[in-house]
C-alpha cells in the first residue's frame, strides 16, 4: 500500500511538473489560443485538401470523406502528443534542464515519473482534440450531420478510449526507453514513428488505397484498430453510399475491433515493459543518463 501511495505521489508531482513546463511559458489566454490554433489549423488543412479535391473532380468526392479526415486527424493528435511527450521528456530532462540523473537518484519511481510527464501531454492532447472537434462541428455541416450527441456511441467510445490510452502509454514508454540510450537522434525517433503510424494507420485515407502488402503491416498496428474504433464510436460505421471509405475493417463488428485492439495492446504493453527495463538498465550501466550531446 505504501508503495502504491509512493507511485501515486510520483505520478501526481511528475504530471504537475509536466503541466507547468508545457503551460507556464505564456499567459493562460495565450496558451489556450496556442492549444486551439495548432490542431485546428492542421485539421483545416485537410479540409482545404478535401474541398480542393471536390473542386478538381467536380464534386465527386463523397461528403462522408470530410468527417473521416477530420475525426481521424483530431484523434491522431493524441497519438502524437503522448508518444512525443514521453520521449521528449527524456531529451528535455537530460539535455536541456540536466535533471535526469537527479530524478534517477531520487526516491521517485523512474517509470512512474515518465508516465506522469506523459499524463500532462495527454491532457493537453485531449483538450486539443476536443476543441478541434468542437470547431469542426461549428464550421462544417458535413461534420455536424455525421457527429452529434445522439449519434455518438458513448459505451464503445469509453472502451476504445480506455484501451487506447494504455496503448499510447506503452508506445510512449518504448520510445522513451529508446531515447534513454540515444543521444542526438532521440527527438527524431518519435517524429519518425509518428510519421510511420500516420501513414500506416490510414489516418487521412482508407486502408484499401494502400498496396496489399502494406495493408498487412497496417493491420498489425494497434493504432489502426484504435482509429477505426474511435471513428466508428463518434460517427458510426462507414455508410454503403461511400464505398471508397470502406477498408479491410469495414465489415468488422465493434466487438471484433475492440478485441483486436485489446490483443495488440496487450502485446505492446508486455513488449514496452520488457524494453523499458532493458533500456533503463543499459542506460544506467553505460552512463547514458547524464550523457549530454548538446542538442
Amino acid at each position: 500500500m505504501t508503495s502504491f501511495i509512493q507511485h501515486l505521489r510520483t505520478l501526481r508531482l511528475a504530471a504537475w511538473l509536466g503541466w507547468q513546463l508545457e503551460t507556464n511559458w505564456a499567459s493562460p489566454w495565450l496558451f489556450a489560443l496556442y492549444m486551439l490554433v495548432k490542431p485546428v489549423c492542421g485539421s483545416l488543412m485537410l479540409v482545404c485538401m478535401y474541398y480542393a479535391a471536390r473542386y478538381a473532380t467536380g464534386g465527386r468526392v463523397p461528403a462522408e470523406f470530410l468527417p473521416y479526415l477530420y475525426i481521424s486527424n483530431a484523434c491522431f493528435g493524441l497519438v502524437g502528443t503522448v508518444m512525443f511527450g514521453l520521449s521528449y521528456g527524456v531529451v528535455r530532462d537530460r539535455e536541456h534542464y540536466r535533471m535526469l540523473k537527479y530524478v534517477y537518484i531520487s526516491p521517485a519511481h523512474f517509470q512512474t515519473y515518465f508516465v506522469g510527464r506523459g499524463l500532462a501531454r495527454a491532457t493537453e492532447g485531449s483538450v486539443g482534440a476536443v476543441l478541434n472537434i468542437a470547431v469542426g462541428l461549428l464550421l462544417f455541416a458535413d461534420l455536424r450531420s455525421q457527429l452529434g450527441p445522439a449519434g455518438i456511441d458513448w459505451g464503445w467510445l469509453v472502451v476504445y478510449l480506455s484501451i487506447g490510452l494504455a496503448m499510447l502509454w506503452a508506445c510512449g514508454m518504448i520510445l522513451a526507453g529508446a531515447c534513454l540510450n540515444m543521444t542526438r537522434n532521440g527527438m527524431f525517433l518519435s517524429e519518425g514513428v509518428s510519421g510511420v503510424v500516420y501513414l500506416l494507420s490510414g489516418v487521412v485515407f482508407p486502408l484499401a488505397v494502400l498496396p496489399a502488402w502494406i495493408q498487412g503491416i497496417s493491420l498489425a498496428l494497434p493504432t489502426t484498430y484504435w482509429l477505426e474504433g474511435m471513428r466508428r464510436a463518434l460517427t458510426g460505421p462507414v455508410p454503403e453510399s461511400a464505398p471508397v471509405l470502406r477498408g479491410p475493417l469495414a465489415d468488422w463488428s465493434n466487438g471484433e475491433l475492440a478485441l483486436a485492439l485489446a490483443a495488440t495492446t496487450a502485446g505492446l504493453v508486455i513488449a514496452a515493459q520488457l524494453f523499458w527495463r532493458w533500456s533503463e538498465r543499459r542506460a544506467w550501466r553505460l552512463g547514458k543518463l547524464e550523457e549530454n550531446a548538446g542538442v
Binding site: 505564456a26 489549423c41 488543412m45 482545404c48 485538401m49 480542393a52 537522434n185 487521412v204 482508407p206
Partner: protein, 270 residues
C-alpha cells in the same frame, strides 16, 4: 586589419562550414531529413488518390513538402538557432567577437540552404518517382528564377526571425511550433491556394514568401490556376527579398541593443 566586407565574408563562411560539414559527418540525417517528410507526403498523396483527385494534386503535395523543408529550416535553423546558441553559450562569443552578426546570420542561411536543398531534392525525386507525378514545366528557367527568389525572400524573413529570438526565452520553442501548422494552412502547402481561398486572403498570404513561391512554381510545373501570374509573383518575391533583408538589418541592430540593455544575451534555461 581586415576590411568590413572581408570580415563579413569570413564570418559568413565560418558559420556556413559547420552546417555543410554536418552533411558528411552525421549520416543519420539521411533518415531523419528525408524519410520522415516522405512518409507525410505519402499519406497526403494517398489521401488525394482516395478522393480521386487528378495526378497533379500529388505533385502539389510533393512540391509542398519540398518547399516546407525550407520553411522549417528558416524556423529551426535560423530563428531557434539563436535561442540555442544563447543556451549553449555561443551567442555571447558572437556578440563579443569583431564578426558582424549579420555575417553570422548570412552564414547560417547559406549553410542551411545547402543542406536543405539536398533534403528537398531527395523528397522531390522520391515523391515524383514513387507517385509518378506528371511534370510538364513551361520553362525550367522560370522555375529556377522563382525558386531562387523564394529562397532569398524566405531566408531574409529567417534573419528577421533570428533577431526576434534574441528576445524570446522558453516560449521560443512554442513560437516555432505555432508558426508551422497555421503557415502550412495559409500558404497552401498541400492544395492550390487560388482554388480555395478568396482572392483577398490569398493576396495577404502572399506576404509569406512560401505562398507566392509555391504558387508560381505550381503554375510553371503543373499549370494550376495561380493567385497572380508567374512574373507578377516573381517580381513580388524580389521586392520581399530586399525589404526583408533591410528590415532584418534594422531589427537585428535594434533588438541586439535592447537585449544588451535588458541582459538577455546571456540568460539560459529560461
Amino acid at each position: 586589419m581586415p576590411s568590413a566586407f572581408r570580415l563579413f565574408l569570413t564570418a559568413a563562411s565560418a558559420r556556413t562550414y559547420p552546417r555543410v560539414a554536418w552533411l558528411f559527418r552525421s549520416r543519420s540525417w539521411i533518415i531523419q531529413e528525408t524519410l520522415l517528410p516522405v512518409l507525410l507526403v505519402s499519406a497526403f498523396a494517398y489521401s488525394y488518390r482516395a478522393m480521386g483527385a487528378p495526378a497533379e494534386y500529388t505533385g502539389l503535395v510533393v512540391l509542398g513538402a519540398a518547399m516546407t523543408t525550407f520553411w522549417l529550416n528558416v524556423l529551426w535553423g535560423m530563428g531557434a538557432t539563436v535561442y540555442w546558441e544563447r543556451d549553449s553559450g555561443n551567442l555571447e562569443l558572437y556578440i563579443m567577437s569583431p564578426a558582424p552578426l549579420m555575417g553570422i546570420l548570412t552564414g547560417m542561411a547559406l549553410g542551411g540552404m545547402t543542406t536543405t536543398v539536398v533534403r528537398a531534392a531527395v523528397i522531390t525525386v522520391t515523391g515524383v518517382l514513387v507517385f509518378d507525378v506528371p511534370l510538364q514545366p513551361t520553362s525550367w528557367w522560370a522555375l529556377a528564377a522563382v525558386f531562387s527568389l523564394t529562397l532569398a525572400a524566405l531566408y531574409g524573413l529567417g534573419m528577421m526571425f533570428a533577431s526576434l529570438f534574441l528576445m524570446w526565452g522558453r516560449e521560443a520553442w512554442h513560437m516555432v511550433s505555432l508558426l508551422q501548422e497555421p503557415i502550412f494552412l495559409l500558404t497552401g502547402t498541400n492544395f492550390p491556394v487560388a482554388a480555395i481561398f478568396p482572392k483577398a486572403v490569398a493576396a495577404v498570404a502572399c506576404l509569406i514568401p512560401l505562398t507566392a513561391g509555391m504558387d508560381a512554381m505550381r503554375q510553371v510545373l503543373f499549370h494550376t490556376p495561380g493567385i497572380f501570374d508567374v512574373w507578377g509573383e516573381a517580381s513580388f518575391l524580389a521586392v520581399l527579398s530586399v525589404v526583408f533583408f533591410i528590415l532584418a538589418r534594422k531589427l537585428l541592430w535594434g533588438i541586439e541593443q535592447k537585449a544588451r540593455r535588458e541582459g538577455r544575451l546571456t540568460v539560459r534555461w529560461q
